[in-house]
């Protein structure tokens, strides 16, 4: 049988506020366990939450960016369940009256088309702490779990899509687009390895063409695009196997282990908690007025779609390069810096998407960690464009910059003797000298057809580059050679 795959996503996006959503504790990542948890975060008796205005601002900015209705009356509810990393015994979240109503996001598909993914809503909530299931033992020798509440109370928006995606590619394209949006907005640092964005994937299958949706499963807490793609492929296959064998899908929550490409059931619908949501009496409903929304609108930066269009228009980039460079806010501003300094935007794009990105990936670095600044790369682009350095030489300059040997492009070119000679008089003299010692090869060349001549040209270039100590401009050498050999 042929099957339609139906995918919806729920994405937890950590907001890049300095402090927590209901307390003044820092949200900085990586501190010693429990050093960023105050009495409110620990749910000490009598403590009360006070909402962080910045979290509301970020949520509204997100809403505006996806063209959503903003919930004018935003109500927090308590979602009740017991877990050691949930200090109050309930999560403060939104249910009936979320801050962001229905909106939409456009995604680019590999075939060049675009697709609209509808957003059901996005709500504000607090993150839980972390349970550390390491080797802790109590005085009776029983194993214990450690609890780190630094993350408890970190503001999140949970973005819930409609089931509008049909395969892993679309889901990943959406996830990447969302990542691009929230990082461009500056409301999330986008660092997935630190859990700044976490994806839950709802998947169901139905016979091709059928309207009614099949039973879905939810695979939780995927924290990389690759794991998400794998988990979807894995789950689609698992469901298909069951359905093809005449079985039924159990509505359940599943956990995916990316290292082993395995998943297991976490809990079924029957085992699901009754969360007993009710409005949190410690927090008054938050009224969002026009002036707050307009203030948020005035803070919106250029968004990825607009930036992509501008890159194509302003810099003459092709669709693919413009897409890549506009998708990541930091990459986009790096590109703009390099392009502005280096004058040649296309060359800048090639270098950033080629050598530079490859090097960052190879060393698992972000742009912020790059040893090469935008200004340096811009300077290098200038020297490539004005023929001061050959592309082979430019790679050596890039390496020197990366290794921190010197921070000045021209100084490296000088020190390494990479300056390309483009003085035609001097080059002609060298060509004459070299050709004088190669009469056989000249004859061979002149007797050859066009196709063969191209190959034979290399035979002259070697000695020429050697004679110029590698500094002759190969393009000019070729021109001069052609002139001399073909008369």
């Amino acid at each position: 049988m042929q099957w339609d795959v139906v995918i919806g996503l729920e994405i937890h996006v950590q907001l890049a506020t300095n402090t927590k959503i209901f307390s003044g504790s820092s949200t900085a990542y990586g501190a010693e366990p429990n050093t960023q948890a105050n009495a409110v975060d620990l749910a000490m008796p009598g403590t009360l939450p006070v909402p962080n205005e910045q979290a509301f601002r970020y949520a509204v900015m997100f809403g505006l960016a996806i063209d959503a209705e903003i919930g004018r009356r935003s109500v927090f509810e308590r979602k009740n369940y017991f877990y050691p990393d949930l200090p109050k015994g309930y999560q403060t979240t939104q249910l009936e009256q979320p801050i962001v109503g229905p909106g939409h996001v456009e995604i680019d598909l590999p075939d060049g088309s675009t697709k609209t993914i509808r957003i059901h809503h996005a709500h504000l909530e607090e993150d839980a702490g972390k349970s550390l299931h390491e080797a802790f033992f109590d005085e009776h020798g029983h194993g214990m779990s450690g609890i780190d509440l630094n993350r408890a109370g970190t503001p999140l928006i949970e973005v819930v899509t409609e089931p509008d995606m049909r395969n892993a590619e679309e889901a990943v394209a959406f996830a990447k687009k969302l990542h691009s949006l929230v990082t461009s907005l500056g409301i999330c640092d986008g660092d997935m390895s630190q859990g700044s964005m976490r994806f839950d994937v709802n998947i169901s299958l139905k016979p091709k063409g059928q309207d009614e949706l099949g039973t879905r499963t939810e695979t939780k807490n995927l924290n990389s695009f690759r794991f998400m793609e794998q988990a979807i492929a894995h789950e689609v296959e698992r469901q298909m196997d069951i359905l093809e064998d005449g079985g039924e899908i159990v509505q359940e929550t599943r956990l995916y282990n990316g290292d082993r490409d395995e998943s297991r059931s976490m809990r079924t619908k029957e085992e699901a908690n009754d969360y007993r949501y009710f409005p949190c009496p410690d927090l008054l409903p938050v009224e969002i007025d026009d002036s707050f929304i307009e203030d948020c609108r005035s803070r919106l930066p250029e968004l990825p779609d607009a930036r992509k269009a501008r890159f194509k228009e302003q810099f003459g980039l092709n669709d693919y390069d413009a897409s890549l460079l506009s998708g990541d806010a930091k990459l986009a501003s790096f590109f703009e810096e390099v392009a502005a300094r280096g004058k040649d935007a296309k060359l800048a794009a090639n270098w950033i998407l080629g050598e530079f990105s490859a090097r960052l990936n190879a060393e698992d670095k972000s742009i912020a960690d790059s040893p090469i600044t935008g200004a340096q790369l811009g300077d290098l682009i200038v020297r490539i464009a004005d023929d001061s350095v050959s592309s082979a030489g430019a790679k050596k300059v890039f390496e020197a910059l990366w290794a921190g040997e010197n921070d000045n492009v021209d100084a490296i070119i000088d020190a390494k003797g990479l300056k390309q000679v483009s003085d035609t008089g001097a080059l002609e003299k060298l060509v004459d000298e070299v050709l004088a010692g190669m009469p056989d090869q000249i004859q061979q060349y002149q007797e050859a057809d066009d196709k063969k001549r191209k190959k034979l040209m290399g035979g002259f270039m070697g000695p020429l580059m050697k004679a110029s100590k590698g500094q002759g401009n190969p393009k000019l050498f070729t021109e001069i050679l052609k002139k001399k050999l073909e008369g």
Partner: protein, 481 residues
């Protein structure tokens, strides 16, 4: 010395007739000698109190004193006190020492008041007799086998027994007014949001309100001057100017329009009770008030709505007591579920568990609409009743509770009868209004309280009305012996 009011003691301190250390020592001695009869304190802060008194005396000698500098008082053991254990009368918090002050605590500290100790109460403020305390029941100073009311029974008994001139208290459904009435003192529950709830251990967040207990209305006004105000740490506290509540105590009552809710004067009131209340109201007429009957048509729904909403909120508020971070933890838990079930099973008393279960039930899937949402609708109707009635009159008057102090054990095993104790007080919390109870007579030798309910933020008027009555009567000066 212990028969004096806060106002009198404050004047004596200012005049240099007594030092705070002498005063504090006197009350500490009284607690030591007398409290074995009442059990009104859970923790006595002898060393801390004397240190605070010495500091207060030093401040007085430097000329930088507030009316409260050096005046002793006590906190209900529901207000967190930095460095002093705060139990909420529960085994769950038997050894809990908060590393922070409640905002109310901080306010009294800033005013220079001397905290004698932490008073007994019903566990987590759940009760109307102070019999649910893990630290034992409290005895009403007016009668050896009588309850002091609850949940602020320790504060009420301590003030009535003159072990402290004043005490803080909280009121979720009558927990200030009912014990004030049963112990023959004056107690005020302010408008919801008038006093910060930060550091006040939550029972039902939308109903809880910190308030005052002392013998006179004037002393209550002095307390409220310290307690009231907006607190950035409590987003439900209201940002409204705080008047000097003592400044308007002497306003004449001429023309005050008093409403008597007919639903509060029914045959559930004994003739003696009703007569006592009618006498008090007659006194108000002599002071120039006019009296008319008003109606609160949904009054009979208040208890039912309250006993859905309050337990629902409590069921979530008390989830934090899980044995993970602080408070009681069961011995040698086998696994997580065992940790939770035994910690909470052993740490909470029967009434607390009953209310957690009721609240959990009311919020459960399938029951939420029928119970919780319906109760919220009823709450709005009740609130509207008061708004309507208070368009016609300035204040409402009623008995605070149906009868004087009952005997210990009399209602302890019958929760519903116990809940009916709050029949006249509970609707006020649902509406978020201010109300006070003042001593208005004796029935069978036991005090009877008159409740005065006012519009939002009318605390000054309520205190004024109570003070004027106390200028022409002496019920608030009667002592148990």
């Amino acid at each position: 010395m212990h028969n004096k009011t806060v106002a009198e003691l404050s004047r004596d301190l200012a005049a240099g007739e007594v030092s705070s250390v002498e005063l504090t020592q006197h009350f500490l001695d009284r607690i030591k000698q007398e409290d074995s009869k009442y059990n009104s304190f859970i923790t006595v802060c002898e060393d801390e109190a004397l240190a605070e008194a010495r500091q207060a005396d030093a401040l007085r000698s430097q000329g930088s004193a507030t009316p409260w500098t050096g005046v002793p008082f006590a906190h209900k053991d529901i207000f967190c006190t930095n460095g002093v254990r705060t139990t909420c009368a529960s085994k769950m918090l038997e050894n809990f020492v908060p590393p922070y002050d409640a905002s109310v605590t901080a306010n009294f500290r800033a005013a220079g008041a001397v905290c004698l100790g932490k008073t007994n109460m019903d566990e987590f403020a759940m009760g109307s007799s102070n019999e649910t305390s893990y630290f034992g029941a409290v005895t009403n100073p007016w009668g050896h086998n009588r309850v002091p009311g609850g949940s602020s029974g320790g504060s009420a008994a301590a003030v009535a027994a003159r072990l402290t001139p004043a005490a803080t208290a909280t009121d979720t459904g009558g927990s200030i007014r009912q014990p004030a009435a049963l112990c023959g003192i004056t107690g005020l529950k302010p408008t919801y949001g008038r006093v910060s709830r930060y550091g006040m251990i939550a029972f039902a967040s939308s109903l809880d309100q910190g308030g005052t207990m002392a013998r006179s209305a004037e002393d209550n006004a002095m307390m409220l001057n310290v307690m009231a105000g907006h607190d950035p740490k409590d987003s439900t506290s209201l940002d409204r100017a705080v008047p000097d509540y003592t400044a308007t105590l002497n306003e004449p009552l001429k023309g005050l329009k008093v409403g008597l809710p007919k639903e509060y004067f029914t045959d559930q009131l004994s003739p003696a009770m009703e007569q006592t209340i009618r006498n008090a109201i007659a006194e108000y007429e002599k002071l120039g008030a006019t009296v008319q009957e008003v109606s609160l048509p949904n009054a009979n729904l208040a208890i039912a709505a309250y006993y859905v909403i309050a337990p629902a909120e409590a069921s979530a508020n008390l989830s934090r007591f899980d044995g993970v971070r602080y408070g009681y933890r069961c011995d040698d838990p086998k696994d997580l579920m065992d940790l939770y079930t035994r910690t909470r099973g052993e740490g909470f008393g029967a009434e607390v568990k009953r209310r957690i279960m009721v609240g959990t039930y009311a919020l459960s899937a399938g029951y939420f609409d029928a119970y919780y949402l319906k109760a919220l609708k009823v709450r709005r109707l009740i609130q509207q009743d008061f708004v309507n009635a208070l368009k016609e009159v300035d204040v409402l008057m009623s008995p605070t509770c149906p009868s004087p102090a009952f005997a210990k054990g009399e209602k302890a095993n019958d929760p519903v009868t116990m809940y009916l104790e709050d029949i006249f007080t509970i609707a006020v919390n649902l509406a978020g209004l201010p109300a006070l109870s003042l001593p208005a007579g004796l029935v069978d030798g036991l005090p009877v309280g008159l409740q005065i309910i006012g519009d939002y933020f009318s605390e000054a008027r309520l205190l004024n009305a109570a003070h004027q009555y106390q200028q022409v009567t002496d019920w608030h000066q009667r002592t148990p012996e």
